[in-house]
Every structure is written in C-alpha cells, then in structure tokens.
C-alpha cells in the first residue's frame, strides 16, 4: 500500500504538469504546415459555424491579429484556413481566441487536409459537366433546326458541325464512364457504365456514318445530353461523399500525433510518433491518450480504457503495468518505457484486423450494378435480335444496323444510371440535417436490408460517463466527499461531485494519489475518498466495502454506488427494432455483471460479455455465415474490426478514431434514436430506388418495341431519354417529403440509470 508522502508523484508533479502543457502545444503545432515562403498554413475545423454572421465575425477577429497573415472561412466545409506569418506560430492562441468568440475549433487532420487542397476528382467531374453542357446546348440548337425541317445541304452542314462538336466533347466528358466500364470489363464483370459507354460510342459512330452518307438521322444530341445528365448525377454523388468526409475529419482527433520523449540529458522534447522506438522513455500527462504500447516505470494513475476494451469504469495502474495505445490517462502523470513502435502497437494491430475483416464485405455488389448485370445482356441480345430480324426481313444490312443501334440508344440506361445516385444524394442531405453522416451510397443500400442488430455496450448503449445511484447520508461526510471530489478529473469523482447538492466544506492539504484516491483534512481531521483498501488505512470500517468509499479517520465509512447512464433514446431504439421483428444482441468487452444489468434494463436477451475484438469479429462472421445481415453499432477501438466485419455499421461521434474510420454511418447527436432514424431513412430510400427502377423498366417496355419496329427518330429519342431522367429525379426528390422525421421523443431527465 502506498502512502502519500512516499509517492513519487507528489514531488515532481509540477514539473511534469508543465511537460503536459508543452505536449499539448507541440501537438497543436504539428497541425501547422510550412509553406514555401516560410509562412505557416493551418486548417481549423469549426463545427459551430452557422451563417454569414459567424464568418464575418471570425474573419474580422483573426485578420486583426498580428500573427495572422490571412484567414479565410469556408462555410460549406465549416473550416477556417489560417496563414501565419511564421510557421512556428502556436495555433493554440488562435484556437483560444476563437473559443472566446464562442466557436470551439480543432486543428483539422494534416493528412486529410492535403487531400482537401486537391479535390481533383470533383474538379474533373465539374469540368466534364461544363464541356458536356456546352456540347449539349450547341448540338441541340442545331438539332432543333434539323427537326423543324432543315433539309438538303443545310441539314448535312448542321450534322457536320454537330459531329465536329460531339467528337471532342464525348472524348473528354465520357472519360469517367469509359474508364470505369473498361475496368469492369477487364475484371470480367458488368456494371452500369458498360451499357452507357457502349450506347454513347455506338450512337456517335452511327451518327458519323450517317453524316458521311448524307443521311437524315443523327443522334449526336442524344449521346451528349445523356453524358450531361449522367455526369450531373455522378457529381452530386461525389459531392455527397466529399461533404461527409470533411464533416468526419472535423471531429476531434483522439489519437495523438507525438509524445514527450525523455532525452538522455533528462530534458523532455516533443517527437512525432514515427520516430519513437521501443525502449525510449516517454511522459504521459493528465488527460492525454497513450500514444503507443508502453510499460509504466514510474508514477501511478487511473486509466479510462473504455474505448480500448469496453470496460466502463476507470482502472488504476502503477509500476510495471502495460498500457495499450489509445487508453486515456486520467489522474496522474506517468513515465513509461515504449514496448513497441507505433506500427506494432495495439492500435496498429486493430487496424490490421480491421482491414482483414473488411475483405469479407468486399463481395457486396451495389444494387445498380446488380441491375446492370441483368439489364445489359438483355438489351444487347434484343439489339442483336433486332438486327437479325430486320436483316432477314429486308435483306438490307444498313437499315438493320441502324435500327439495331437505335434500340441500344433508346434503351441506354440513363434513368437507371440516375435512379440510385439521385435518391442517395437526397437521402444523405436529409440524414446530414438530422446529424447523421453517411460515408457512401452503398451503406444506405446495406442498411435497408439488415435483419440483425448488434450493439456494443460502453459508449454506445451507455454514455461514456458514470453517475451515482445513492450516496452516503451523513451531511458532514457528504460535504467532505464533495470537496474531495472537486479536486480531481476522475470520472467517478466528477459523478460524486455532481450527485451532492450541498456546498463543499473547507478542505485543507488536499492531495491526489493517482490510482488510489484523494486525501485531505477537514477541520484537522484526515479524510479520504477512493479505493476501499486505501481508505481502510485511516478507517478500519472501510475494509471490504465497495469502491469508491469516503471516510474520516476512524469514523464511519460510506460507499458510493456507481452506475452507468443509458444513452437517451436507447430504450426506444431497441424496442422499435424488436417491434419490426429484428433481433437485437449485445457484444460487450465489459464484465458480465455490468453487461447483464444493462441488457436487463433494455430487454436484450442475447448478451455476450468479456468479448475480445477477435470474439466480436467471430460472432459477426457466425451471423454472416448463417445468412444474416447485421448492423453493428459500436464506438471503441475494440469494436473497429467488428464494425468493418459487419454488413453495415454505425458509430457515435464520440467513437475512437479507428471506429469512426471503420463505420459507414456516424451520428453526431447523443440520442440512439439516430440509429432508427437512419434505418427508416434507408428503407424509404430503398423504396424510392425500387420505384425508380420500376419507372425505368416501364419506360423501356414502351420504348423497346417502338425502337425494334424502327419507329424511333432522333427527336423521339431525345424526348424519351430526357423525360425518363426527369421523372426519376422528380421521384427521388419526393424523399424530401416522404420521410419526415417523427417528432423527437422528449429526452428523459438524465437518461435512465442502471447499477454498474
């Protein structure tokens, strides 16, 4: 048992406290990038940015600062790009200036912001849309003249000009489709881009031949308008993913970029993680995440391992204990020896497990591609049959080819190509307004077809913070406990302080012994709050009681009852899945007693506790092998691999970095009703997508016989294709009305509480 005076922390605490602040500054400084001209460039993410007023206020404040060269706020991405005169400037002063204005800011991820600077795909798509739009406008102008009766040489000239416009336009704007179609064909698969590419190329080739022969009908306008519509759909899809990605990168980063390294001469310097090798000595301050796997060589502390193992309650750690990367250091500063480099740490192992688990999901084929696999062969065979039929009937191979290709053009899956992305874009916009971020469209398809739901416990079904069920009744003890609890950031102590309404009494000589508790004097009488066996040093009664215990020297000892708080909406979310006939299970890394008590409160029958990350993956694989499609909702580092292994996954925004990377959906609000809201939205979207497919198929059922009969002129083709596309887009826009969110149930005061 460690006494107060002999504890190493108490003497060197101040010095190490300073190192913790240095680490924080160095960590923020790591977010500043050096520009070629010696200026520093930093991207700050400001989640609370709402309107132009905020933009004006922030820019005025930042631009007035001496150390800032320029500051430009981006309202769409909710970011501020700040250029410092000196690359070595500490962005924390800018961040605190923003906090004073009422806008908490965090440095955006360096790796992410490099990508931000060059959103090449989005720019390329926009350029292609512009080129296709230019071509479509001009060719349509000429085509209208042809349709309204231009004949003879005028018509031939117009066709020639159209051809001269259409060839470069298709060659440039069609590239995204040609590339994707080529890739799919090389892998021996069919996707929606294959029939699109075939139709566009054949339409162009046929029209060129017709133009050279001086023929009456050319489909240049159809080919280019088609590209314009499809590129618009593709750009919207890209924009949706880009927006979700930037919102995710705006969440606070949980894993550190570097650590304070003890040099041979005894000083501390900040080193990036990549240059920290096994055997080095690092210092981990209060409220810091452990950067790599380490073993404590001096000091003791309490650790919050909830993100790593799923254990809800903090655990004490001291000399010789091993800490996994990602655990949060709560109460004491420790010095530790690095066991493994960042690549070999627990975090990296979890990442590897995650990428292995992801391969299982790789077999999912998106609904549009599934449709293409049916659609493309049917249409191409019909076209072939048309050719053979007309050739046999008329004996003219030219007419036969013309009509066969016109079948391909009119059945070109314009509506099919737009049916899915437009619906997904509308749905993702709605979800974002509800505080749910969606990584990509296929996640929405997968969420619509779930038949199992698996929840993690700590941090997902419960809030990360503890609460007190019932405390001691003695007033003197209560005020003393409150005074002691206010002295530390330990979550249990915070909960104790919150649960006691009285004013704290006067406390002298308060001292925190990390891993054990807090000691002090009230009116000359020693008092302690903390682990039962440590409090028993001054008070025999405390022995054997449940921790945490508060007692005066030789006085009565009182035990506090720590409980976990359920997330608001957890009960409703579970019951609405149960009503829909979807079984709910719980996989927890916590001990059986806590897992079971939460499960009882929520009415979950299928509970598994003490699950390691590998157990969780195994459980999900068993579900998959049994033919089930599971939704996994989890937050911890230990869930990251399971999130990747599940059919579809969700994580709260408080999740670990790895969990947020692995999950398909991230919800930004506290309530678990986000899970059911996303699920309802996914089902509504799936319904709209099915309707869109039905519309597209109906259109084809009318158009194909006409085309096969040789009745299709370029005018009819242009009208039919644009008409069907607009119909599909209009139907998708109904999603904005169709699934109005139900009125939010009133959150219960403080959530529901269950014993830990």
């Amino acid at each position: 048992m460690s006494g107060i005076g002999t504890h190493p922390q108490t003497c060197s605490g101040d010095q190490l406290q300073v190192s913790s602040r240095e680490w924080r500054e160095a960590e923020a400084r790591a977010g500043v990038r050096l520009l070629a001209n010696g200026q520093g460039h930093c991207v700050l993410s400001i989640p609370d940015l709402r309107c132009g007023g905020c933009v004006a206020k922030i820019e005025r404040t930042l631009n007035a600062r001496a150390d800032v060269v320029t500051a430009r706020v981006n309202l769409t991405l909710k970011q501020a790009v700040v250029t410092f005169a000196d690359a070595d400037t500490d962005p924390t002063c800018v961040i605190s200036a923003l906090a004073l204005l009422g806008y908490p800011a965090i440095p955006a991820d360096v790796a992410q912001q490099d990508e931000d600077d060059t959103d090449d795909v989005g720019r390329g798509l926009l350029r292609a849309i512009a080129v296709a739009g230019f071509g479509a406008m001009n060719i349509m102008l000429l085509s209208v003249a042809v349709w309204s009766g231009a004949a003879g040489e005028t018509r031939d000239t117009f066709h020639l000009i159209s051809a001269l416009i259409a060839i470069p336009v298709v060659a440039y704007a069609g590239q995204p489709f040609f590339r994707s179609a080529f890739q799919a064909l090389r892998m021996g698969r069919l996707n929606m881009d294959v029939p699109i590419a075939v139709a566009v190329v054949l339409a162009l080739a046929l029209s060129l031949v017709e133009t050279m022969r001086g023929g009456e009908q050319a489909f240049f306008d159809a080919a280019v308008t088609l590209l314009f519509f499809l590129l618009s759909g593709r750009y919207l899809d890209h924009l949706m993913r880009e927006r979700a990605r930037s919102a995710v990168s705006g969440l606070a980063r949980l894993s550190p970029r570097g650590a304070m390294l003890r040099q041979p001469d005894g000083t501390l310097t900040y080193m990036p993680l990549s240059s920290i090798t096994p055997g080095a000595i690092i210092t981990i301050g209060l409220d810091e995440r452990v950067p790599v796997d380490v073993r404590i060589i001096s000091g003791s502390t309490d650790l919050d391992r909830s993100l790593v193992t799923g254990e809800a309650m903090p655990v004490p750690a001291g000399f010789g204990d091993t800490l996994e990367a990602g655990t949060l250091n709560l109460t004491g500063v420790v010095e530790a020896e690095v066991l493994r480099s960042a690549d070999g740490s627990f975090l990296a192992q979890m990442m590897r497990m995650q990428s292995e688990a992801e391969t299982g999901r790789g077999t999912y084929v998106r609904i549009a591609d599934r449709a293409a696999q049916l659609y493309a062969p049917v249409v191409h065979l019909l076209s072939l049959a048309t050719f053979v039929g007309w050739f046999l009937a008329t004996g003219e191979w030219h007419t036969a080819i013309f009509i066969a290709i016109s079948v391909l053009i009119i059945t070109c899956p314009c509506a099919l190509g737009l049916a899915v992305p437009v619906a997904h874009v509308v749905a993702s916009g709605r979800l974002m307004r509800m505080g749910i971020l969606m990584k990509d469209g296929s996640a929405l398809e997968r969420l619509a077809e779930i038949d199992r739901v698996v929840f993690d416990k700590t941090g997902t079904l419960t809030m990360g913070t503890a609460a007190i069920g019932c405390g001691p009744g003695d007033p003197a003890l209560r005020t003393a406990a409150k005074a002691l609890a206010l002295k530390t950031v330990h979550p249990a102590a915070r909960a104790i302080a919150m649960s006691i309404a009285e004013q704290p009494c006067q406390l002298d000589d308060a001292i925190e012994v990390p891993g054990f508790g807090i000691a002090g004097c009230v009116g000359g009488r020693a008092v302690r709050l903390g682990r039962a066996d440590w409090v028993a040093d001054i008070c025999l009664q405390a022995k054997g009681k449940a921790s945490p215990v508060c007692a005066f020297a030789d006085g009565p000892a009182m035990s506090f009852d720590l409980i976990e708080t359920l997330r608001p909406g957890a009960v409703d979310a579970i019951s609405s899945f149960a009503e829909a006939g979807i079984p709910v299970a719980m996989l927890s890394g916590d001990i059986a007693a806590r897992a079971n008590s939460i499960a009882n409160q929520l009415d979950i029958a299928d509970v598994r506790s003490d699950e390691t990350p590998a157990d969780k993956i195994a459980a999900l694989n068993v579900l998959r092998d049994a033919g089930h499609r599971a939704l996994m909702v989890g937050d911890g580092l230990n869930d990251a691999a399971a999130l990747a292994a599940a059919h579809v996954s969700m994580a709260p925004s408080s999740a670990s970095d790895a969990g947020r990377t692995a999950a398909d959906f991230i919800f930004l609000r506290d309530g678990l009703d986000a899970v059911t809201a996303a699920w309802h939205m996914a089902r509504a979207t799936a319904r709209i997508v099915r309707q869109n497919f039905a519309l597209a198929i109906t259109y084809n059922c009318i158009a194909i016989p006409l085309a096969m009969a040789g009745l299709v002129t370029p005018l009819i083709a242009a009208l039919a294709m644009s008409g069907s596309s607009l119909l599909v887009i209009g139907n998708a826009l109904r999603l904005n009305r169709a699934a109005k969110p139900r009125p939010m149930p009133m959150p219960r005061a403080g959530g529901m509480e269950v014993p830990a």
């Binding site: 320029t70 991405l77 250029t83």
Partner: protein
C-alpha cells in the same frame, strides 16, 4: 442562308467564351464555398475590406516569385 456562316461561329464562340470563363472560375477556387460566398455579399465592412485586399495583394506579390 449565308447568314448561317456568320451566326453559327458567333454562337459557338459565345459558348466557348462561357466555357472558358467557367474553367477560369473553377481554377480560382470560386466553387469551394458556395454557401459562404452567398452570404459574403451581405458583409458591409468597407474599411477592413480595403485593408484586407491591400494585404492580400501584398501577400500575392510575395508568393508570386
């Protein structure tokens, strides 16, 4: 019909100019913050704007070489 020989090039060049302007605006980052730029028109602080633009031209001069 000779008017067509004149009008069609005019139409095409007008379209091409529009396309060129769009490419220029895309390159100068004018589509990066659509919702923010819509609000900026309402800012009415002329003095800081002048100062900011003067400072901006300074920095571009610095960065240009």
């Amino acid at each position: 019909m000779t008017i067509l020989a004149f009008l069609i090039p005019v139409t095409l060049s007008m379209g091409a100019i529009g396309l060129g302007v769009f490419f220029w605006s895309l390159r100068s980052n004018q589509y990066d913050d659509l919702s923010g730029d819509a609000e900026r028109i309402l800012f009415d602080d002329d003095h800081p704007l002048l100062a900011a633009s003067a400072r901006l031209s300074n920095t571009t001069k610095e960065t240009a070489p």
